[in-house]
Each structure stands twice: as C-alpha cells, then as structure tokens.
Symmetry: C2
Subunit: 350 residues, 2 copies
C-alpha cells in the first residue's frame, strides 16, 4: 500500500543527470503508485524525457530551475551562489510544505549544507548525521555518521545513537534495536575520551533501543548490533574500506574463475547461485544515505548510481516520510531532554 | 641466504602457547637455517616440545621465566608486575644485545608498553606505531598506525610516514614507495586539522619516498599507495572493517556454493583455483605486525595464529633485523631533524 504524498527530486543531480533521475522515478512510481513527484531542473531537458513516460508524466510536475550545483562545488559556494539551483529549490519545497521529502544524487557536501541551512535541525539535535544501511551476516545494520561531522563531541554521538535507533525502528522495523559505539576494543577503558564519555552516557539514559557497548570494525559486517555509532571521519573511512575490500574480493573471485578451464566450467555451473549473491550484495540495494536530524526528510543517492539505485533511494525517502520518522525523532529528543544532561567534556579528543 | 643472528621468542604468548611457538620456530628454522633462537618461558613445558624437534633443539636455547603475561592483563599492570615474564625477559634480551629482535603472540597492549619502556624510541620518534601489510589489487601495502596511538598530532603522522616508507623499502623492496594520508576525501580542504597539517608538511619535506596526498578508505584495497598513514583509532577500525568484510564475503561465497547441486558441482570443478585464492588471501601471510620506532625490532604475531602464521611473523622480524631496518630509520630521522620543523598545531582535532 502506498500512501499519498509528494516527493521532490533534484533532477539535475548525479553523474547521469536527468536521464537517470527520470528513469529512476518511473521505477519508483510502479512501486508506490500514489506518490506525486516534483521534478526540479531544466525543463528543456526534463520534458522530452517525461514525454516518453506518460504514466510518470501523469503524477509529475516540473519546476524549472535555471541553475544546477556542480559536482565539485565547495559547499559554502553552493550555499551562497546556488539559490536558484535544482538542489536548493527541491529542498525549499520540503521546507515550504509542498513536498514531504527530497532526494538528490548531487554533491553531498552542498546538499548537506543547503539542507541544514534551509530545513534546520530538530530541537535537541546539534548536528545532523549521514546514515546508511550495511549488509551483514545477520541481515542489515545502520551506521552513522558517514561523513557529515569529522569531529564530534560525546553529545553528538549520543544524539546519533538516538536518531540511529529511531531510524532502525522505522526503516528496518525493529522493535528494540541494539546500539554500539565504534571503538578499537570492546573493553570500557579502550579508545578516546569522546567514545568513552558517549558510552557512559548511553549506558544510563533511556533509549529507543538497547545499548550494547563498544563494537569494533569487524562487528560492522558481523551484524553484532543494529546501529553503529561513530564520528563522520571514522565512519566514512570504515564505509569506504568495506566497499574497497568487497571490490578486491570480487576481483580476486573473477581472476579465480578465469585461472583455468575447469574453474571457468565451474563458474558456468554455479552461475545462477552467483547471480543471487550479486543481487544480495548489489550496492544499489544499499543506495540512499539519509540525512538524519533535520526538520524534513532528505536522502542522498550515490552520484554514480543508475535508475534502479535511484529508485531505491526514493523508496528510502518514501518509507521515512510515510512512517513519520521525524516526528518519532522529535519525541525521542524530548525524552532525552527530560533526562539528565551530559557533563561537559571539553577535554575530549584533542 | 640466511644471515647469522639471534631471535628472541616469547614462548608463552598466543592462544595455543608454547606448542604453537615451538612448531612455528621449527618452520622458520627451515627457512633461515643460520638463525639462533632464545626461547623465553616455562622450561618444564618447552623442553619436552624441543625434545621432539632435535634440529630446532640444536639452534635453540631456553631461558626459564617464572611468569607469563595474561592475554587480558592491562598494559600498566603487565608493565609493573610482569618483570619476570617471558614477554618482558624476551624484550630485555634485545635491549641487552643478546638477541637482534623479538617476536611475541601475546597481549598487544602489554607488549607495546613493555617494548616502549625497555627499548625506548629512536631519536626523533615521539611515539612508536604498529604497522602491517595488506593485500591489494596491485600486491601489498603497508598501513600504520593500527592501534598504538588513538590520538595523534600532525608530527606523529609525519613520523609514521617516514617510518612506513623506510619499512616499505626494507620489507617490500621498493625503491621509492608512495605515501598517502588516510582521509575522507582526496581534496586538500577535506578532513580535520591534523591530517591537513600533516599533509602540508609531507608535501614540502624530503622523504624516503614520494608523497601522493590524501587517500580514502577504498584506496587501501586498491593499492593506490604503498604506505597508508593514519592515527591508531582510524587505522584499527579500517583494519578490522576490512577483515570483517572479507569474512562476510567468504561466508556469502560458502552459502552460494551450497545453495544448489549445480553450484556444489561448480565448486568441485573450481576447487583448485579456490585453493590458490585462499592461499593468496590467507591471513597467516599477513601475520606479523611491526612495532616501528623502537630501538630494537619487535614483532607482534596474531594471538590466534598457528605455527605457519607464527613462522611468518618470525620471518618479518628476521627480514627487518637482517636488513638493518632500524639504522635506516635513524638516518631518515636525522634527515628529518635537519629539515624545517613543523609549526605548532595545538588547535588540531578537538
């Protein structure tokens, strides 16, 4: 069942621009028939694409924008000079209530800067975070922050934990998600002041989930917890290290199957099974990084994705908007505000 | 050709204790016939094992030690209370000149604390770092620090870069290793103050290699650079995330081959090729983390490894000691000292 709501799309974002976005919206339309789309971008490029897709045309409205944010634009420059860009006007439509959420495959830094500026943070949240799903041995986990905040205070990590747990409840449908703070050992004495202070606080406060304690890098893939909390520097390195290792493995596997005639024959026999494995680990399945903590749902699609990946990112945005994700975060932040405040930890992480 | 030198072994370290260490030393003996071993540990447990290995017995000397450091001992406690432990006395033998290097599969934190205390750092090195090899698409790379220093100043990263490059020259036989600083983007403006200040310094100073600039998590597996420099927190998370992802992939592969009869048959045909892949990615190949920056070669073997893995760790120690690795570091640090000092960056990484 699809709920009736409007999704704003930055039609100019991504390596393959409007073509990919429109094709992705068409796939999403089949999955969520009642959704309406606001497409922000260059009408001259968007309209011909829509003309080929009458079913999408029927549920879409185009808003012409004269500018587009460049993929390599500095966030501060995009924020200042991009007021008439497709990205900015798509975000504005969420702030203005015309759309329930926004999806863009454009410049991550610019999107975060604009979304923060336009949508503002939820009361009680100091900094928004980027969250995404990861495949694990047990299913799927959520990790945040993946790059929005290179330096964090304990209170930021605590807020990420709350947002991540609400996200796991909403998007993964878990009643009591487990939460872990990423560290370099599981003992309480390990790590730096920031993670230790965050863990101390998380141990004693009411949470929309259960605090597990510290987890290590290998726990991400094991699926030891449902929500992995970390600063944006470590999270970004972990995310990309995992992606790089998966690629290395895939390449080793390819070479293995090509190393002999019997190995090639073996591949032919196992091909069906490998196709299923590929689907299971398809990065497009995990496309759609959420900006959590803003007064509006904003989802970042990978810039290099295709229509299927973009449709998945739209699905994530739809899911969050339809399930009142932000209202749930607000409630939890209120609960957190009613609880004991965290002592000052300025000495941390020098 | 094996050079005549003496290697001290902590016979009590590791999950499988003396059995694994003695069996590993016997394998290493075949590879380096001229090496002599000093085995530190409980004579009553070591002698019966040696009695079964007369060739090793002939090149080994046992030094009885009444204590052993527990795997879960706090480093500070081990340092204070472990003065008669096998680990400590093995390190002492390097400081005293009886052995050229020491290998232990025991408690990492205790080993680092003792090695730092007993061996002291090389002039110009403020903090030692843990380094290890990684398999990459191009071959092998070195990453440091992997967990000794959770918080770093720019000057620490600069010193790690120098040590890592000398290490790559010595252990990987590269004439001009490339060096990258791990960050969350390749642009100069990305990341935090610490990595930016370190990169600024590395761009302008004389190095025993070529400074490439920033690299990201996915560059570790790609092999974009030969030496990856990072703080011990990020490095440890990246190392374990890569290990976890590799395990996840292996498990997915196992399930894939068992998912149907044709897939099983396919595996049987490709089995030989997979055996070679397994050897290529065998963690035992990459066993042996080096403590760089100390006035003595100290190698940490994985605690859970077997005799083959331990023999590889001995091989790493042998290689460093036989090639005068520490003398090379000293020379480079002298060069570094003669160059312009790094400006103070106390404001970094809060």
């Amino acid at each position: 069942m699809s709920q009736r709501l409007t999704i704003a799309l930055d039609a100019m974002g991504g390596d393959k621009g409007p073509d990919m976005v429109i094709a992705g919206a068409d796939i999403a339309r089949e999955r969520h028939p009642q959704v309406h789309y606001l497409l922000f971008g260059d009408t001259a490029r968007i309209e011909p694409l829509l003309a080929q897709r009458p079913a999408l045309r029927a549920v879409a409205e185009v808003r012409h924008t004269p500018d587009a944010v460049a993929g390599d634009a500095k966030p501060s420059v995009a924020l200042r000079a991009g007021r008439q860009s497709s990205m900015r006007l798509a975000i504005d439509s969420v702030a203005g209530g015309q759309a329930a959420c926004v999806v863009s495959a454009g410049n991550t830094g610019a999107l975060m800067a604009m979304a923060k500026f336009v949508l503002k943070t939820i009361p009680g949240i100091d900094r928004p975070a980027i969250a995404s799903f990861f495949p694990t041995l047990r299913g799927e986990s959520v990790m945040l922050d993946l790059g929005a905040n290179t330096e964090c205070q304990p209170e930021n990590l605590v807020q990420f934990a709350v947002m991540g747990a609400v996200f796991a409840r909403t998007a993964l449908n878990l009643s009591e998600p487990t939460i872990g703070v990423l560290n370099i050992g599981s003992e309480e004495v390990k790590g730096n002041e920031v993670v230790r202070a965050a863990a101390t606080r998380l141990r004693e406060m009411p949470l929309p989930g259960r605090f597990h304690g510290f987890v290590e890098g290998n726990d991400i893939a094991t699926g030891t917890v449902d929500v992995i909390v970390t600063d944006g520097f470590t999270g970004n390195v972990a995310l990309k290290t995992a992606e790089g290792t998966a690629k290395l493995f895939t390449e080793f596997l390819r070479r293995t199957f090509q190393s002999s005639w019997t190995a090639r024959l073996g591949y032919l026999l196992a091909r069906g099974a490998f196709k299923r494995l590929k689907q299971r680990t398809d990065p497009r399945r995990y496309n759609g990084a959420m900006f959590l903590g803003l007064r509006g749902v904003c989802v970042k699609s990978h810039g290099g994705t295709d229509a299927i990946g973009f449709a998945n990112a739209i699905g994530v945005a739809y899911n969050l908007a339809a399930n009142g994700f932000n209202d749930r975060i607000k409630e939890e932040m209120q609960r957190l505000a009613d609880a004991k405040p965290l002592p000052d930890t300025k000495a941390a992480a020098v």
